[in-house]
Homo-oligomer: 302 residues x 3
């Protein structure tokens, strides 16, 4: 199971910044390319007051701060140059996650989608949309809102695909694994009925269930998605959730177990959150460069 | 707005040690010099049992541990050599911060100031004093104590300037910004009346209010200080307070917003906490080296 | 006081992984050798579901995950090659630490000891056993269990030595230091009567009491151990427990104080937890490489 896509986490909740400029980014795109990454996904175009491009809409409407540069333009140009697909991540206002807030979160994104498409839709690498607010089966109340936003993205862009990356609700050691898996199946079946036709790709975050349970969750996902004509990807997290330092690169063996689980489950494509901090030779973390080496050995890349 | 000064955080509360020896320190002073840093401020000469020079007073009186080397002598020699101004930071016994403790904290520093001046006052780079216990407008009860200590420092040293670096009391998102700003103005007016003549420089920590509120706070500070003949500097923090890992180098864009705010507010001089960990090419953190590059691009330094 | 041994922390509770392969490990063994390290101790051979070698017993009995490689074989081969002594650390199932759990923890390790000896006992570097569950004077209720396990290890392996590395119960600043030290002495006297003949080496963790109290604790330990014919080592921790980031390399000066305390107390041998992350030039943490330099200056190693 090869990693062929990665998120770009430039406007981050919780990952420290690497302080790269255009040169460092170009070097990293080259290294992505060298291991077969063909897809990059902007995790979000803005978070509360920080934004990744000088959006007139976000600066006027939400008082966002003018960015130092246009990251979206830079990423799209690099994706054009290195022949990758770019997914544009929507804005996250930071409001909390009940049903009404979710509706609000999606409502405020309609004008943003218009603006983004008008500014950047001409890039040949502009390949789709990423709905950035994370959901899970326990937030299915929100499915109608983001299904509507997904449809709007597709309409504006002539049908470009829409991706989400939900987390798997963690199952504690003492829980009944069988019951948890049945709930996962039942809830996602209901969600898929709502989002079918609005969302094209579901990439489950693979770090919120134990590695030894993952294969069952992914296999259930694959079966469900197939029935609804949705692609089932895995978001193979390359940061470690289980260490006291939040967050450093994952242990290779753990990543290997997760890739094996995805392969066994028949997953369509593996992406990661994310290459540049956690598995790049250019990362500020040396363990990421070592992970890059271990991954290349596994994937048979020289 | 250029960074022309930095703290030296060798006896640290919460920043991991880089384990530099004299060679690594000299290299770092050279890199400071290369971007125009002309001022270094020892954050404190001792903290509880750890001390930065073999102080007979602190070892006898507080059972401090003998240090492995004389850092103060090393820093002053480097400052002499590279033509920088050195500020000596007072001792922090670690006692808590009520009024009585504050008086105690300042009382124990009188003999220390004598000792430090006797040992190091001959260095031509010995340019002033830094009162190391942090204060804020909500701790104004303490102002009389450290005004007295400031006056004593000046008396001992023939009038060398005294610096403090208070934090701005954080204002939560839901607070009334206007009221918070008025309280900031009113309280600092009272403090300045007390410390006038004892403190020459106030360098506000710029990381405890949101970047988009900072300019107002600094502008208020500049106006107040001018009235009292006190220099108003900004302490442009180069570590990130808002990430789960406490602490790694700040995102360049955030630093840029803060430098712009200081420039717009008419700030006299910008220093940072601190160069060696957070924006140096020699730092143990690679993001610091990248911040150094971004800062040099901004400042037009080759 | 020289560091001549180190733990190997490949199956870790709380230290992020460096993602080394065989090449990186060989380089690190060479650097260990260069400063006189002659002893390596595997901290544990497995933790809950993660294991360091493909143990049929652990995979069948506890559903442990198949490891990506056989680390134990690799470590023993490197220890053979570089003429070091290797101590094998027992399995930690993660169950809690009351008396019954402790008995359970030791019971499940009997078959493991058999398996490990059968697989690896032929290596000439296989020099002893490390009982991996940590104890302290307040857990003396557990002494009988691990004394039994220690005896079993010795029986299986023809009398190879058994090591433990207990922590010193932390003494708060406000506590009565004299009373704490007496309790330390009394409790350890009782423990030693139980474990005598089953445990050959006690290496106290040196990071849980203040540096300025350490010498007294170690001296008491040395006196007690001598009476019972047990070697008294120090486990000189090279990570810093007192900083907000858990955990980064320790400040050299702190390590120096601890080594001086051990030397003054007449300690037999100093090992560390652990070289590869915290004091190696190959570490992902640059401060570790700097600590390596400072340590070599202290030890007079070119």
């Amino acid at each position: 199971m090869k990693i062929t896509g990665t998120f770009l986490d430039e406007i981050s909740y919780d990952i420290p910044h690497q302080n790269w400029g255009p040169e460092e980014w170009e070097k990293d795109f080259q290294d992505m390319k060298s291991i077969g990454i063909d897809t990059v996904i902007l995790i979000r175009c803005g978070l509360i007051k920080q934004i990744s491009y000088p959006s007139a809409y976000l600066m006027e409407k939400f008082g966002c701060m003018e960015p130092a540069s246009d990251l979206v333009e830079m990423f799209l140009s690099l994706a054009d140059k290195y022949d990758m697909k770019f997914y544009f991540g929507t804005y996250d206002s930071g409001s909390c996650w009940d049903k009404d807030a979710f509706e609000y979160e999606t409502q405020i994104n309609y004008p943003l989608v218009d603006e983004a498409w008008a500014r950047y839709g001409h890039h040949r690498s502009f390949a789709g949309w990423y709905l950035s607010v994370e959901i899970s089966r326990r937030r299915k109340v929100a499915a109608e809102s983001y299904a509507a936003l997904g449809k709007y993205c597709k309409k504006v862009s002539g049908g470009l695909p829409v991706m989400i990356s939900p987390f798997l609700d963690p199952v504690k050691a003492e829980d009944d694994q069988k019951a948890a898996l049945e709930a996962h199946q039942k809830d996602w079946e209901e969600i898929l009925q709502i989002i079918q036709g609005a969302v094209d790709i579901v990439a489950f975050q693979d770090g919120t269930v134990p590695e030894w349970e993952l294969e069952n969750y992914l296999r259930t996902g694959v079966t469900l998605m197939k029935r609804h004509g949705i692609s089932c990807w895995t978001n193979c997290e390359t940061f470690d959730r289980d260490m006291p330092i939040h967050f450093l690169p994952i242990k290779w063996e753990k990543m290997w177990h997760k890739l094996c689980a995805a392969e066994n489950a028949g997953i369509d494509k593996a992406i990661t959150f994310e290459f540049s901090h956690f598995m790049s030779p250019n990362s500020i973390y040396r363990a990421a460069g070592n992970l890059f080496k271990r991954y290349k050995e596994y994937a048979g890349i020289k």
